[in-house]
């Protein structure tokens, strides 16, 4: 991440799955916001002098709660990077963890607020943290990392969330090439009893479940056929019914171990 300390409006550039996103901060708390952003985006650094491909403008008005502002900035960075890669790659609303030895990565697809960040927080330590939000997959199966800050609830059930640096909760970004080894749909259910149940979906059912959790899918050529080919190459999309994310560890390990 590069910071320009010489102008009234200040910039940093973060790497969001290969998109250098410039964040220009102005207002009376620009210094404070930039300091926090530098810490929070520690795993998405760019080399000094990296030019921004796209830009997010932030006005740090002192009437705003800093943590609320930082959460909005994270969302804006994600949206801006996703829009910048429209039509160029598969973008899934999914958390992703990887094996540090093999680079095999498993994506866990789910709508917002249904378990992705909790899974990453629970199972991420000891593995590579790829993302808790947007999993980007190229045609050859390469996964582009996006180890963004995590939005964690202040207390269980709280509406308020704090942006949290990955390193502060024991998460480590990928240090090598990543390839997709598994595609799972999270189906968390408080009423689920017993160990997780894994259901491998027929290709068409998998597509129907995956498509709503993609971004800009129709902008790609042959979008459905590519998604079908990818899911079939991975042995199908797996829907996992579970209650506690800690119970998914064995499933994750099996998928990572089975990867070529």
């Amino acid at each position: 991440m590069a910071a320009d300390a010489g102008s009234a409006a200040r910039d940093i550039v973060v790497d969001a799955f290969g998109v250098p996103v410039g964040v220009r901060v102005s207002g009376d708390r620009a210094h404070q916001v930039l300091d926090r952003l530098a810490d929070l985006w520690e795993c998405c650094r760019t080399a000094v002098g990296t030019p921004a491909e796209v830009r997010v403008d932030v006005l740090s008005d002192s009437s705003l709660e800093l943590d609320d502002l930082l959460q909005v900035v994270t969302q804006r960075i994600t949206e801006t990077a996703v829009d910048a890669r429209a039509g160029q790659c598969l973008m899934l609303h999914a958390a992703c963890l990887a094996d540090p030895t093999s680079g095999a990565a498993v994506a866990f697809v789910a709508p917002g607020g249904t378990g992705k960040t909790t899974l990453v927080r629970t199972l991420g330590p000891g593995r590579w943290y790829v993302t808790d939000e947007t999993t980007v997959v190229l045609d050859d199966g390469t996964v582009l990392p996006y180890p963004k800050p995590l939005s964690l609830r202040r207390q269980p059930g709280s509406l308020f969330k704090d942006e949290t640096a990955p390193g502060s909760i024991g998460l480590v970004p990928a240090a090598g090439r990543l390839h997709l080894a598994g595609l799972c749909l999270l189906a968390r259910d408080d009423a689920h009893d017993g160990p997780p149940v894994v259901e491998t979906l027929p290709t068409l059912d998998g597509l129907v479940s995956l498509v709503p959790q993609t971004s800009h899918l129709p902008d790609q050529p042959r979008p459905l056929r590519r998604l079908a080919e990818l899911s079939e190459s991975l042995g199908g999309v797996r829907r996992i019914h579970y209650r506690e994310s800690a119970d998914l560890e064995g499933i994750l390990d099996d998928l990572l171990a089975a990867a070529p």
Partner: protein, 86 residues
């Protein structure tokens, strides 16, 4: 009633069924709907389509009127933006 197929974004077929993408919307199609979509590139009467569905999938189950089943499937496809009615 006659219908004609509208352009769609992409389509995947497996075992006589299909999933189509229309803009950002994904739609799962039954075997009847899949045959209908295949057979009406140009304006086609529902009676002709009914014969083609029966030829492709076999006779309708006991108690099911094939003409009404095809009409119902066609109405659903029109509502989903996959067919237009002429």
């Amino acid at each position: 009633m006659r219908v004609r197929r509208l352009p769609l974004t992409d389509r995947v077929d497996r075992d006589g069924e299909s999933v189509v993408l229309v803009g950002h919307t994904v739609v799962r199609l039954s075997p009847v709907a899949t045959v209908l979509l295949d057979r009406c590139e140009a304006w086609t009467d529902l009676d002709v389509l009914t014969d083609q569905v029966v030829a492709a999938l076999g006779p309708a189950p006991r108690g099911v009127d094939p003409r009404r089943a095809v009409e119902s499937a066609a109405e659903a496809l029109v509502a989903q933006g996959l067919l237009e009615r002429g």
